[in-house]
Symmetry: C2
């Protein structure tokens, strides 16, 4: 690991060369490096926390001057309860995961003495651009080393001192390991992002971790594939047969467990048939916890007649724009799904799916229903990375999914979707071992292909 | 399937809507559609061949006027031996492959009554832009329908009549199937490529099939992910312990089986220690078959003293540019790998890998060696989609790999690499089935994650 102010091109070339050495290191060498990083961070806790406190001091000043939001402050603070411990534990969790490198995922006898293997291998060079969270350095460095990928990290200016302290610690730790020096590089030069995004010859994947604006800027300014998401516009659909208690519990969690998260719910879809049976209880619970409800006309009418006046008076009218807005705040847009008296429940579900198709960012959408058939219809029909039944959208998370940690959540339609852990940092190569066979020998009048699937071990 | 001159945006929106219907069709419905296409094409053979003959007539005229190359003419001709039969058989081969949709690839008990599944699903909408090969329509339509993806096809102007005839046939065949009408659309409007490449909201993946220029134009002009390759700069490294006969056989096939193919060899790397033992025989065989050899100084000197004068006189001097040129013609660049007397064979192999790292397009590279260790070093160290041992680079092909057919060969570092069949057209979604669990219940002082891997069936 090196802390560098070299030019972006030099950095990228060095990463590319190191990536080849890292890619062929045995499992133990990569795991030992993670152990070394863990120990070093543990021993440098005071130094790092002191640097973080300084960052925080400067940021608090900026916040007071209105130049920085409170949520950035929160993300910056490594002293928050459990954050440091989680960061350190994350390194060990990643170390203890199964090695994703060199796994054979397909083996075919093409002909006698001619075997095809598909073998997992690292992608190569990752560029990670993040904003305010200093613990991302440790997360991503762990995932990169474990998966055999070189990484270039570029942090936001608010984290400068924490970034340098963590980086220096990791850098020192890695010098005594077999991981090539430039496998993890931390860029402290300013204004280099645009140049980095131009280096598609040397960088294989960009992972942005930050605001929608950051992600969109990156998506629009590079030919390098970008893994991540700009928007997290998540919906929950309450079907008419949902259980009240479950609906209340899930909505409260999805909206309030962490309103600024990408997997928080932003739109509630509810069957018209549930306007008097489920909606009042859900709305009342949300209002009591300070959530602003932006309702379409039918749901507002229904709630106005069922809620106490003090609550009913706080209801707002939804605009069309509210259904495509990621509030990242205690605000929820409510949309009624019509339930004509002669229509089947699956018609309502189809209408909910259609709303999601038209408005969702394809991140995470959930249904609350007692019916297995309706759930199946919803989970097949909704084209999002995560489609949940009777649970909160907040479950969309690499740690919760058992991936150790994550490099981010992807709304891409190719490569990796949803929470991305180690597997999303892998690709494969095809190896063929022959004994002199050539293509021209096969085909009309020649030798025949065997194409026999072989067991994957060995 | 519809043959359309609607606007690109209308086409893309229609594709997106159809893709949702296609994605949830059962296996049988998709297979039946392929059977219907196969029968319809069989019955329309005469009409289609007649249309193709007219395309060919116009193209021959263009070729005579120097506006079209002979290789395009060859690719255009559906009457070439075996081509029609291969096209029809390809449809049935794809139909008979295992259904790639709805396969569960990960199943985890997150907690009691809370299960995570990763399920394969189609990517969505594919845009295929091809040039001169009319049979691509049938290949791609089959792969798209089988994998549950909608496809928009845009062909080159040389294939207009064949394209319309095949399209009309497929279109008629599909009207009696369950596949939604706009799942496969064929665009006959001119000058729409730029507009299509702008529709990243509706199109999920672009697959270009044509010249390097076409692929590069597309890569540089869209935010949509592009699957494919511009260059196929393939190398073969003859290690000093290779068997002469095998080296000759593999080089002849790799260079001459189809010189215009992306998997033909363009650079021969050869150990200095093999200059007098293997190189003369290989060079002589290639020269006899009309291949021009562009040699670096050491290999030219060695060959000049060992080959008969008539052959030696034809040797050309290689420039640095020759090692990054995809000749697509019977020309081969030769580069010597130094073998210092005290160095181990693995040192030579490392130098060959370094040359490939610096020059290869990461498509397909091969080694010829008798040593398992040297082969392992090469196959681990070379970062290309296909890395072969003792076989020809021409083996890099979806049909030869047993994938039925292919949408193309990818040199991307993410999603799909090498020959891409059905699997490369799939992505996955995460489904969670819960019983009311929410994220806020877990963590410090709360419930614990179980994260138990479950068997994949059911």
């Amino acid at each position: 690991m090196s802390l560098t102010n070299s030019s972006p091109l030099e950095v990228a070339k060095a990463a590319s060369i190191s990536s080849r050495g890292l890619a062929i290191l045995p499992t133990k060498a990569r795991n030992d490096a993670l152990t070394a990083i863990h120990h070093a961070l543990q021993e440098s806790k005071e130094t790092i926390q002191a640097a973080n406190a300084k960052d925080l001091e400067l940021a608090t000043k900026s916040a007071e001057e209105g130049e920085l939001s409170q949520s950035v402050l929160k993300r910056l603070d490594l002293g928050r309860k459990g954050k440091w411990e989680d960061m350190l534990q994350g390194i060990l969790d990643v170390r203890d995961l199964e090695d994703p490198v060199n796994k054979i995922t397909l083996k075919t006898r093409l002909d006698d003495g001619l075997t095809l293997e598909r073998v997992s291998c690292p992608i190569g060079v990752l560029l990670i651009i993040f904003e305010a969270r200093p613990e991302v350095i440790a997360n991503i460095a762990s995932l990169a080393i474990k998966s055999g990928n070189a990484a270039i990290l570029k942090g936001g200016k608010e984290t400068t001192l924490s970034f340098q302290a963590i980086s220096q610690t990791i850098s020192n730790a890695l010098t005594n390991t077999l991981v090539p020096n430039n496998s993890i590089q931390l860029l402290i030069t300013r204004d280099v992002v645009a140049s980095l995004l131009d280096l598609d010859k040397h960088i294989d994947l960009v992972i942005p971790r930050g605001s929608n604006e950051l992600v969109r800027y990156i998506q629009n300014n590079t030919r390098i594939p970008v893994l991540g998401h700009a928007d997290g516009l998540c919906s929950i659909y309450i079907h008419q047969d949902a259980e009240n208690d479950m609906a209340v519990k899930i909505l409260l969690d999805a909206k309030l467990d962490y309103p600024a998260a990408c997997n928080a719910v932003e739109t509630l879809l509810i069957d018209e048939a549930a306007h008097s049976t489920i909606l009042p209880e859900v709305a009342s619970a949300l209002l009591k916890r300070g959530v602003s409800l932006r309702c379409d006309a039918p749901s507002k009418a229904a709630l106005s007649s069922s809620l106490p006046k003090s609550q009913a008076d706080t209801l707002q009218e939804a605009t069309e724009e509210d259904y495509t807005t990621e509030f990242l705040a205690p605000i929820l847009a409510i949309k009624t799904i019509p339930t004509p008296p002669d229509a089947s429940p699956s018609t309502s579900c189809s209408l909910a799916i259609a709303h999601i198709s038209a408005h969702s960012s394809k991140h995470t959408d959930a249904i609350i229903t007692s019916s297995k058939e309706i759930a199946e219809q919803f989970q097949s029909g909704v084209d999002s990375a995560c489609v949940f039944w009777n649970t909160s959208t907040r479950m969309a998370d690499g740690m919760r999914f058992g991936f150790g940690t994550e490099v981010g959540i992807s709304t891409n339609k190719i490569h990796a979707r949803g929470p991305v852990g180690l597997e999303g940092l892998m690709i494969y190569k095809y190896r063929v071992k022959g004994t002199g066979q050539v293509a021209g020998e096969y085909g009309v009048g020649g030798k025949h292909w065997k194409h026999e699937r072989l067991p994957l071990q060995g």
